[in-house]
Structure formats: C-alpha cells, structure tokens
Symmetry: C2
Amino acid sequence: MRSPGHSRPPVAGATGSLVFTTVLTGGPLSRADVAVRTGLSAAAVTKAMKPLADAGYLVEVEEPAADLGSRRVGRPATPVRVHAERCYFAGVKVTGDELIGVVTDLQATVCAVRHRSLRSRAVEDVVTELAALVADLLDESDSYRASFGGLGVSVGGDVDPESGMVRYSPFLGWRQVPFVDLVATATGLPVRLENDVRALTVAEQWFGSGVGAGSFAVVTVGTGIGCGLFVNERIVSGAHGVAGEIGHLPFDRDGPLCHCGNHGCVEAIAGNSAILDRIRQTTGAEVADLASAIELARNDPAARRVFAVAGHAIGMALAAVANFIGPERIVISGEGLAAYDLFSEQIRTTFAEHAFGAAGDCALIIRPLSFDDWARGAAAVAIQRFIAPHTS
Amino acid sequence: MRSPGHSRPPVAGATGSLVFTTVLTGGPLSRADVAVRTGLSAAAVTKAMKPLADAGYLVEVEEPAADLGSRRVGRPATPVRVHAERCYFAGVKVTGDELIGVVTDLQATVCAVRHRSLRSRAVEDVVTELAALVADLLDESDSYRASFGGLGVSVGGDVDPESGMVRYSPFLGWRQVPFVDLVATATGLPVRLENDVRALTVAEQWFGSGVGAGSFAVVTVGTGIGCGLFVNERIVSGAHGVAGEIGHLPFDRDGPLCHCGNHGCVEAIAGNSAILDRIRQTTGAEVADLASAIELARNDPAARRVFAVAGHAIGMALAAVANFIGPERIVISGEGLAAYDLFSEQIRTTFAEHAFGAAGDCALIIRPLSFDDWARGAAAVAIQRFIAPHTS
DNA sequence: ATTAATTTGTTGACGGCGGAAAATAATTGG
DNA sequence: CCAATTATTTTCCGCCGTCAACAAATTAAT
C-alpha cells in the first residue's frame, strides 16, 4: 500500500526517535555523548543506532576533526551525524493571498523556495494551487521525489493536527475544512497540518533557538502578534485549539481601537499596520510599508517615538509571557525586527520593569524572520512527524 | 536505614503509579475500566494491581452495589478502590504569621487540623514550631504515625522542590533556605516542599476539579492573585521558579498604584485589601474585613460597584489565562468567593468579552477555598510524591 | 618498544514488563 | 443445563534496555 518513493519512517520505537532527535538537534555526537544526554546505556545507544545507520539516516563523521580541544586519553570518539540529504521534506504556509513553499532536507535546511499568489480563497482553488506549487518544488530535483519524507502545511487559525481539519481560519474564511485529506488526495503525499505559529515553534524547538531548552516561547511580531509555547517537553496547543493568543492583552483602556473590538490591545499598538497608521497620523508622511517607516524613523523623532511605544507594548507582552509560564528563553521574531535597534532598548527596559522576580532571568533572543521561515516551520512539522510518528 | 513506621512507597514502576492514580482519581473502577482508561492491556492491569492489593493499598469493593444502571450480561465487574486509611499524610502551609497543618488519608480527606500562629519568622523558629505542630497532629491518633506516608510543606514564593530549597519567599523574608533538610531533621519524616499555589493545583489535579482534564488552571483570589497551571500532563513550574504570576498583569495605566510599583495591576484592583481600601474610600464605611465588606455590599450600591470592578479585573485575568494556554477548565478559588454572587455576573461577562474565539469554551468552575485547603494541597504533594516518586 | 591506563564502542546473557491468546470465572437468557 | 457474554487470570512470548565482559584505539609512563 505504500506509494513508491516515500521513504519509510526510520524509527521503530520511542528510543529510536529519542536517539535520532538527539543527534539531529545536538549536531555530531559520539555514541557516548548520546548515552549521557538521553540517560540510556551505551549499549542501548549502539543498538538503537544500528538500524538508523543501516538505513542511511545516520553516518559516522569521516574526518574526526581531532583538533577540537580534546586530546584526552582513551579511544577517540567517532561522532555520528544525521545524513541530511537522506530525505527531503516540503513545507507550505498558506496565507490569505499567497502560498509560500519550500523544500528542506532532514535538517530543515531550505533547498528550494517558491511563492504563488492566490487568486481565490475557495478551498478547492487553494488545494489545486497548493498541489501545483508542491509539484513544481519537487520537480526541481529528482532526489526530492526519490526520497521524500512528507509534506507539512501551516495555516493561521484554529487547526487540529490530529484530524487534519482547519476548524476555523479567519484569514481564509474557512470553517471545518478537512484540509489534510484534500491535500493528500491532490498530491498523493503524506501530509501533516499545523497552526502556523506552532509550526514555527517546532522549527525553533528542533533547529533553532529552542534546542536544549526545557521550555521556551516564540513571540511573532507582524501583522498580528502571536506566541508559540513549548512547556513540559511539548508544544502547547490548547484544549480548544487556541493558545498563545497574546495579541489582545489589553494594556491601555484609552489606547487605540483594535479590530477585536477592545481598546489598547498589544496588536493595536505594535502590530505592523498599527505602527504604519500611527506614523502616518503623527508625522503626516506617506509611508507605504514598514521598510519606509523604518527609514523615516532614522531621522524623524516623532516616528521613532511610535516605534518606542510599540517596543513598550511588546516588552509588556514579553513580561506577561515570562510571568505566566516562566520559560527558559523567549525568541522574538518578525519582519519588523529588521529595525531591531528601534525597539530594542524599549523592549528590554519594559521587560525588565515588568518581569516578576526571577522571571526576568529569562533570556530574550532576537531572531529576524523571513516569510520563507514560516514555510520552513511547516516542513519542520513534517520532519517531526517523520521521526516521531507517535508523538502528538 | 528506613525509619520505623514510615510506609514504603507502594509502587514499583511507572505502570504501577499509573494504575494506582487511575483508581485513586477515578473512584472505584473495575480492572477492565482501568485497562481502557490507561490504554494498558487487561493482563497488565491485573499484574500491576497484584502487589498493590497485597500491600493493602487497593481493595475490592465488597458490596457490588449492583443497582447502578448495569444489569448487563456477562461476568459482573469487581470494582477496586483505594484503601484510603492504608496510610496517612501531613501537610503544612507556612504563611508569614501562621502555620496551618492537616493530616489526610490517602485520598486527601482531611482527618485532623491544627493552626499555630508564628511569633517569629526566623528560620529556626519556624522549623521548631512546624515540627511541634506536626508532632501534635500525629499524636492525635496512633494510626497516623503507624502508617505514615510523608509530610508536604507549602510556602509562597520561589521554591525548588528538587533541592528542597526556599529560594526566595517575600512573606517570610527568606532567601536560600534549605527548608526540606531542616524540617526533615527536626521531624524525622520524609518531607516534600512545593510552592503554595502549585500545591493547591496538585490537589485539584488529583482530588478536585482538575481530575480528568488534560489541562487546567487554578486561579486563586485572596490577598494576592495567583495561578497554578497544569499543561501537557504536568504542572508548570517555570524555568526560574516563577510561573502563573498573573497578579501583576496591568490593565489600567491610570489604575491604583500596586505594591509592585506599577499601576492598575489585577492585584491592586481585585486583591482583598484593594477591595477593602476601595470600599472604605468610596463609602466611608469602617469595614474591618472582607466578610463585613460583603455584608455592606448587599445593601450599598457603591460597595457593590467596587466588587463589580474587581470582578471585571478578575474576568480579564481569566481571559488572559484562557487565551494564553487554552486550558480545558479554569478553577477559581479564594476566600472572597463566598460572595460569589457579587462577582459572578461581571466575571463571566468580562471573560466572554475578552476570551478569544474558542478559548471562551473553557469551563469556569467556582470553588470556594478555606485556609485548610491550602494545607491539604501540601498534603497532596506528599501523596503524589508517595505514589509517583519518579515524577518531577 | 612495551605496558598500563583510559575511554569508546560492541556483543551476549539476563530480566522486566507488556501484549496475545487461552483458560477460567461469573452471570443472563433461554 | 446450555449458549452467550463479559471480567479476570494465567501462560507464553518477544521486545528492549541494562549489566558485564570484551574488543578497540589511543595516551602516558617505563
């Protein structure tokens, strides 16, 4: 029943996944290192690695690179690394007016990118366009199809990965769409669906700033302001599909009206369009997009003040995240962060002021994000599914 | 090396804990039911139960109570329940001016209560008083000492259960106190330490409204406003010991000054003393405590309005919790809730207004809490430790 | 050079534990 | 009393991880 060309997931059980992800996220590691990190015995590691190496997913590092500070006595370690080109994954982020697709290898390194604008948001049109986009991507190299691991799709809104349903997506205007089934039949590929912010969080968890953290949060600043949470070894999905909605924390009863109907939400102060509106309003300048707003702010104190106010709101939101779940790190990402120097000071000051006690020890990590990174997040979801099929 | 009279933890491994907690939290259950709930095979359940029954922790229900809607064909099930009197636990909540202690059975039913006021907050004095309090409690019945499972202690502030340290407690003015070690040597009992709100959350998780929920939050409204979180099968402790600090979410830049230095925190609007101050201020009445404030509000519209404003702030905080982690349920507890009818309407309205999408589906459960319940929470921590020693 | 010490990696025996299937038990409904 | 049905127990089997012994590869010391 297996379609030809789809690689079989390499792992047999939980231990296999554990060992594999340890190597995947921890760079080249000797078997002994893996044993220490996982808490398994050395014997168990050897046994778990055997089939993974046989199937080509793990390879021993050829050049021992003996220079690195070692020179200890004893048999030298032979580090093992993931063979990233062993299989490939596709990820597509669906927005209201565009599809962004990537192909990545096993380590989520982007190998190919394609965008495709949407002329219609009708479900069948989106599915058709998505299938075409993925086909185009996979046609870029024979290897992609030859050893394909899975397709990840991310959508903003309320999404259920288990059933593969888009329960509600405001941007697309969808309700109760069995998106995974539709995409799977249209493409013939194994498909996994996830919320867009959570997909990004998965990417950070395994391939980004979340590696090694017991808990972390990803805060995205863009049109909206969102937050992905990784707590107690897992991503928080919310009992009803909603989690990490920090965009509408109200900070100022007299603040600007938000589209949600309340006043002074973070999003209504620090969202991209809020910033643009505010800059137009206070300076009278005709700024077309965020880039020109940033440009303007370099010389115009009034515009700069708008960014400072936004930075204040973001700092408050970060403090709320830190006080709430006490993550080890918070990764702040977004397009606007290209202008990080404009926010930075204000964000950190406000965060420090409002973080409660030891919550302030939480590390703030800035990570500017391109649109392609969102699609990479979707691919990361597919990778995670491929490696740990059991994990929710 | 085991002190005489301390019962040995009954479980061998993870499966044993699982089966035992399933029976403990799920009331009397047949082995077949347990198999379904845990996902184990029936055979595994039988095998896991054997040693637990032999040791007297589980007993078969004698009276099959055959009335209950059953009357199906086939061999009747023999429900198994926890033998609650098999062993006893003590729990002590330490506040700035009082110790509250209880003895409970294995099901966290309170068997004995004692309070003891503190004349000094010096560490050694508190330890001495605590040991005396526990001794008094255990002296109330021979059974307590004869089959004693463990002592749980809860303290407000930043607490590390693993090391047994009170890292920082504002109310006691302690820093880096190795409290578990001190109490253990003073009492000769096995001791477990936990943050007070998290201890309460453990009690709800196993013996209260959290039973069966994949995620829930406990919001406590009292002098301070706090929140315990249960997410992804575990309680959230925060990487730096801080989590669930919702008391200082700022909702109103022009609101009253909070002791934390900012304006308009939830705590500065809806905390007990904030309510009292506000009522004195607006009505000029001399209210001594919350009870008389409630009394007054029954007839005085101005006082009632103060409660409504507090209810609004609480509703906002609940919405923030729901939007943030999307729990299945939120348990709201506190002394002030005796006057729930004063808050209720406003809390629910505000919550519904500010909960984002499906986050509003979260169930709000009211559970008035006595001070003894806090001590019971500490005992619950000891129970949990007794049953699942491996779990963090 | 030889040997000892040290660390890594492999192999095989052993045991715990959970599942599958068969056996046993206890009822209901003929 | 016999079938049907559901609960529980028993027996057997296989997976998987640890332990202990061993093989490998290198440094340090003699």
